[in-house]
Symmetry: C2
Subunit: 350 residues, 2 copies
């Protein structure tokens, strides 16, 4: 059997990052003896500026035929914010029903965190973010736009179906992870009394089916404080799309920055998409200075998802070696190595 | 002229904190030679459990007669989340039209931050949070509640009036503050394309009237990263109610924790309310262990608002002395002093 992987290098430094990921894929496939083929899609800002098209409708159906999607980054300085994000990234998440955004927040040995007195034993948790509804649904509108009486509405839509499958995924994941056996719901029950009333009820109803797992709740504002002050308290955090967006970026910074933060957009019954979570970083584009480790770790998540656990573990170990033995910093331009040299190093340690 | 100050000690450790604030008020009033009188209101969890009433309607009108309100903390372990917050704290903010939530994030010398390599020169900015609309308006509802087809909506309402006055306050404040002369809008224009479209348009329209001030924009997720990694980039951040709630708590932790974080709910044309932003911390109630510095700094903000700038500066200096010369930690129970001793120390350094 041959894995079919769709590759969307995207904008800015996306292609450079993905290139290193594919270099690692080739090497690890040989070592582990699995077969794959890739098809590259050119969706992104350049194509949009050329053709006016973000994602052709046919693409969605085509992408469903793959075992996984490997994404670089979407975002172009000449395109108005929102167009590419909504037209490509969010559209893929929604139309492929990738209802889980999975973000491991893990500090690798040798990587510097901006937090005092915290080490790899303290920073090791996973955020399970709902990825297809909430404030991201795009619902809302204007009244009297452009006047002094303007009203702008933005609506968070939360469904039982959407919340239940996300919460269940979190409990299942926590059980499989088998560490602190704790799921923390991150919400705002005291203010968002509709949305998080639903979340809270479902959280406890589903949680009762998992008596081996402790349930915990904290408001999103408190979660942000604790991520900085006591990250060791967390095991699995489950939350809605908007809060998830915020706390996963905060998670990225405490684990060493966007240079090392990878995420998965998962549809357990369909096709999933794996991406470094940093943006397209246009100012570094083409300079061979960006850190490809996040893209390489996204590839590891992709392989784990395909069932190639040994290959994934191999990559993760190699990344750790490169972090602790080589890189001066994880920041673009300050690693002490070029983008492609970092890719080569990871291959060497596979 | 005599300042009339309404005092709402509230729940849990609220009364203990407020007691130290009033101790400092008495001392500084004597030193500076101003007169005041206080009226204490017993709104909070105890009263609600006894009478079923959060805030009598008459209270709103009464409170409008004061020069300022001094609040301890609202929140009781025996009352369902949301009731006291909505019935007292948020109701006061909304009905008194305290449309600005002002949160200085300032690391005092001698106070420990959880961030590596950051000092008082790096952590000194102010968040201007819209305080009367957005997701806090309480709009939303359920469809088919309690069934597998449930839908829960939560609606963010943003008005030109609300956004404009908030953004203008931020620019005015930035000019008066006269430091980096930069206002950063914290939003999510690429996803919340209605709400932050309004915010962004108003931000630039109002900002054009302030050519001496640099305008900057960042998504809320990036802001959270930078608050941890590069807090020195910020001067004044302006944002909506929900994002403001999140980033001000993150701000509290980087400035040393809830023990030192004070906030103001401001209606420039009406009565304003000043509070330590930590909760009621029921587990410390009555133990004389909570840190009263946040409440004391809230009092300083209150006095500054009344025009007693010298008194406010005196308190701020005294708090700094106490932090750098005395306290072992800002955390409750680990200060090396009791709550009332800390109040006494501040009085000594006035
Ligand atoms: C690019 C943007 C639309 C996206 C999001 O907000 O989800 C990103 O921040 C992320 O977290 O993947
Ligand atoms: C208690 C709660 C309703 C309140 C809020 O969310 O505004 C608090 O977190 C704050 O920031 O003052």
């Amino acid at each position: 059997m041959t894995y079919r992987i769709a590759v969307i290098p995207g904008d800015g430094t996306g292609p450079e990052q993905v290139r290193e990921g594919l270099k690692v894929l080739e090497a690890v496939a040989q070592l582990e003896g699995f077969k794959y083929e890739t098809v590259v899609y050119d969706f992104g800002g350049e194509r949009y500026l050329r053709t006016g098209e973000t994602l052709p409708d046919s693409a969605i159906e085509e992408l469903k035929q793959f075992h996984a999607i490997y994404l670089g980054a979407i975002g172009h300085p000449d395109v108005k914010p929102g167009i590419l994000e909504k037209g490509i990234l969010l559209r893929l998440r929604f139309e492929l029903d990738q209802y889980i955004n999975l973000r491991p927040v893990k500090l690798y040995p040798g990587v510097e965190t901006p937090l005092k007195d915290k080490g790899p034993e303290d920073i090791d948790f996973v955020v399970v973010r709902e990825n297809t509804e909430g404030l991201y649904c795009g619902a809302g509108g204007f009244l009297r736009r452009g006047t002094k009486d303007e009203v702008a509405l933005q609506i968070s839509i939360n469904t039982y179906k959407g919340v239940e499958r996300c919460v269940r995924y979190a409990f299942e994941y926590c059980r499989k992870r088998n560490k602190k056996k704790k799921v923390t719901l991150c919400g705002k029950t005291n203010v968002l009394t509709y949305a998080f009333d639903l979340w809270e009820r479902v959280f406890h109803a589903v949680g009762e089916e998992y008596p081996d797992i402790t349930r915990d709740y904290a408001h999103v504002d408190a979660i942000c404080m604790w991520m900085v002050k006591n990250p060791e308290w967390f095991d699995v955090i489950v939350t809605d799309n908007m809060f998830g967006d915020i706390i996963t970026d905060l998670g990225a910074i405490i684990q060493g920055g966007l240079g090392i933060a990878a995420g998965a957009n998962i549809n357990p019954q369909g096709v999933s998409m794996f991406e470094p979570i940093g943006g397209s970083a246009p100012k570094y584009a083409g300079k061979n200075q960006i850190n490809p480790l996040a893209a390489i770790l996204a590839l590891a998540m992709l392989l784990e998802h395909l069932g190639e656990e040994r290959a994934a573990a191999r990559i993760e170990r190699a990344v750790q070696e490169v972090c602790s033995k080589h890189l001066k910093s994880l920041a673009a331009g300050r690693m002490g190595y070029t983008t492609s040299e970092v890719g080569d190093l990871v291959v060497r340690y596979l």
